[in-house]
């Protein structure tokens, strides 16, 4: 029964992980840019949730769209203004660039909000559901469902909408897409904005679950890496599977070893995967 409880905990976490990783994976796949800023985007989303709760007493679930929109605007502008100048350059250049931006944004966050850990504590906790001997915290369950719904919407948008098809077209062949009349630079900016939106939305929900501090951004980034490699690059289903798998691995890891060793374990897993199966568990290139 304990194992079942651990499994459920892992899956609850995994939903949020999927939401985080799908945006990261989208940007990586389409722009061929590893967005080191992704962790800070999540943290900004968390602060939106925290501030709305502190100032107006709004439940962080309700600020999810606000956080998403703010981050979308920020991501769009950042890509248009700065990152677009480096798209198509060697890995070293884009990676160093987003790393520099991460230092800049993260330090600004520390100045603005301090490095202290904060947490949203709801006045009316949502309680928990009892299913037999298994306890499910309602806020976590809601967060997971909402995160998976958002990820599902992203998937549907990429498959079904005109914009989504344009994004996928740019990912498959930039030149060809451009010849077909797709405005590649706009698509890049929109894609980066969407990645930031997913991070912001997840961050707003994270504010109820994890302590918030600018210092947590690297941990989130590490998770996004692991999930992307687990699930395969640039595919939304891959991000969902990778996210759920990582959630389960982490919660069993903390049971059998310790919470810190669980992180080590996921890193070691990542290196092994990169060595032996760099295309991910699904083993195909995700073109949606």
């Amino acid at each position: 029964m304990l194992y079942l409880q651990i499994l459920v905990n892992g899956l609850l976490l995994g939903g949020l992980y999927a939401c985080i990783a799908s945006g990261f994976s989208l940007v990586w796949g389409v722009l061929n840019v590893i967005n080191i800023l992704h962790g800070s985007f999540i943290v900004i989303g968390s602060y939106v949730g925290l501030l709305a709760h502190q100032q107006f007493g709004i439940n962080p679930f309700l600020t999810v769209p606000v956080a998403g929109l703010i981050l979308y605007g920020f991501g769009y502008a950042l890509q248009r203004g700065v990152i677009n100048r480096a798209v198509g350059q060697p890995v070293l250049v884009t990676l160093t660039l987003t790393f520099g931006l991460e230092l800049l944004v993260n330090n600004t966050l520390i100045l603005g909000f301090s490095a202290d850990y904060k947490k949203v504590t709801l006045e009316n906790p949502l309680g928990q559901i009892e299913l037999g001997a298994i306890f499910i915290a309602v806020d976590r369950l809601l967060a997971m469902v909402l995160a998976l719904v958002l990820t599902g919407i992203l998937y549907w948008m990429l498959r079904g909408s005109r914009l989504g098809r344009a994004i996928v077209a740019v990912r498959m062949d930039r030149e060809a897409a451009s010849l077909m009349g797709v405005k590649v630079n706009t698509i890049y900016a929109v894609t980066f904005g969407l990645g930031a939106l997913m991070a912001g939305a997840a961050g707003s929900m994270m504010s109820m679950i994890y302590p918030i501090s600018p210092l947590t951004s690297t941990a989130y980034l590490g998770k996004a890496f692991v999930i992307c490699v687990l699930g395969g690059l640039g595919s939304v289903p891959g991000a969902i599977i990778g996210g759920l798998v990582l959630g389960v691995i982490e919660s069993f890891g903390s049971l059998f070893f310790s919470a810190e060793l669980a992180t080590t374990f996921s890193f070691v897993l990542l290196i092994l995967l990169l060595i032996f199966r760099p295309t991910g568990l699904l083993g195909r290139r995700g073109y949606e």
Binding site: I34, L111, F267, L274
Partner: protein, 312 residues
């Protein structure tokens, strides 16, 4: 034609540096020891990143490994110089094994794999409390020396490693290995077809990028007397050398040195004036550098000079 210049220039600089050590005060000695450490990191990264064009973020892993190897051995009573040498050996062997495993990856995957290695090592050191002291860190035996003598000693130790990496770089850049690595950077498949043993060459470059970083880490550990995982496995130890090399000019012999010098001047000025926004300004510097000067200082000035010459 430039043989005379290439031998006497570095020797003159070396003589100047030795003279400098006896007139400088402790502040400048400390600063220039840091500079020499940066020179080692930048020249080392240049082997894999500048010559072979592989975006390695593993410098922090080698640095931390060297620091912990040196510290643990010294605590166990091994003589200091032996411990430093062992740190070089360990990081070299580690890089060789790691290279065999991850150098078949390209682009982003290689970058991430090399980045994660430092994180994984940091976690291992953090949890292996029995050997490494865990998050509490490790105190090293204190040298019973006069403050100035001690500062000079670490300056000369770091100078030795820096000089060694310079000589190593000079040889490699002029050798068949350096030429092969440039071929790999330009087009690995073509290089392979033309008979460059890409795998061996890449592993050699990766090992070269570690073998002197390890001793630098070990000297650093003895120098500062106390290390902890977050300090020596800091990801900035991987990023700073990259910035220096880009700043100076990748794949050249003098570029990394010029870059390290320019970087430490900037860092010192920034560090002294804006303590709370230090890493933010470093980030801004990186962004501006990547956007506006991706070729580096050396090439920018060289191009400017050339342009001036060709114009009537």
């Amino acid at each position: 034609m430039r043989r005379v210049e290439t031998i006497y220039g570095p020797l003159a600089v070396l003589a100047l540096l030795i003279g400098f050590a006896f007139i400088a005060d402790n502040y400048f000695l400390r600063l220039s020891t840091s500079l020499l450490m940066y020179v080692v990191l930048a020249l080392s990264w240049n082997f894999i990143g500048g010559l072979a064009g592989y975006p390695s973020f593993a410098t922090a892993a080698f640095f931390g490994l060297g620091a912990y190897c040196g510290a643990i051995l010294q605590k166990a009573g091994v003589p200091m110089f032996v411990a430093w040498a062992a740190a070089g050996l360990l990081s070299g062997v580690f890089a060789m094994a790691l290279g065999r495993a991850i150098l078949h990856l390209k682009g982003h995957y290689f970058a991430i794999a090399s980045l994660i290695v430092a994180e994984a090592l940091r976690e291992v050191v953090n949890t292996w409390t029995g050997l490494t002291g865990g998050g509490m860190g490790l105190n090293l035996p204190i040298l019973r020396l006069d403050v100035t003598v001690q500062a000079r000693f670490f300056f000369f130790s770091m100078l030795t490693i820096a000089a060694a990496s310079f000589v190593l770089s000079a040889f490699v850049i002029r050798s068949k290995l350096g030429f092969g690595l440039s071929c790999i950077r330009q087009n690995e498949d073509a290089a392979n077809i033309l008979g460059v043993d890409a795998t061996t060459y890449k592993i050699s470059a990766f090992t070269l990028s570690a073998v002197l970083v390890g001793p630098a880490g070990a000297i650093y550990a003895t120098w500062v007397n106390y290390i902890e995982p977050g300090d020596v496995f800091e990801i900035l130890h991987s990023v700073k050398p990259i910035v220096m090399v880009i700043l100076g000019g990748a794949g050249t012999l003098y570029g990394p040195i010029v870059g390290a010098f320019a970087f430490i001047v900037l860092e010192e000025v920034v560090w002294r004036n804006v303590l709370t926004f230090h890493s933010g300004l470093l980030g801004l510097l990186i962004v501006l550098l990547v956007l506006f000067m991706p070729q580096g200082l050396m090439r920018v000035t060289a191009r400017r000079l050339l342009r001036r010459k060709t114009r009537p």
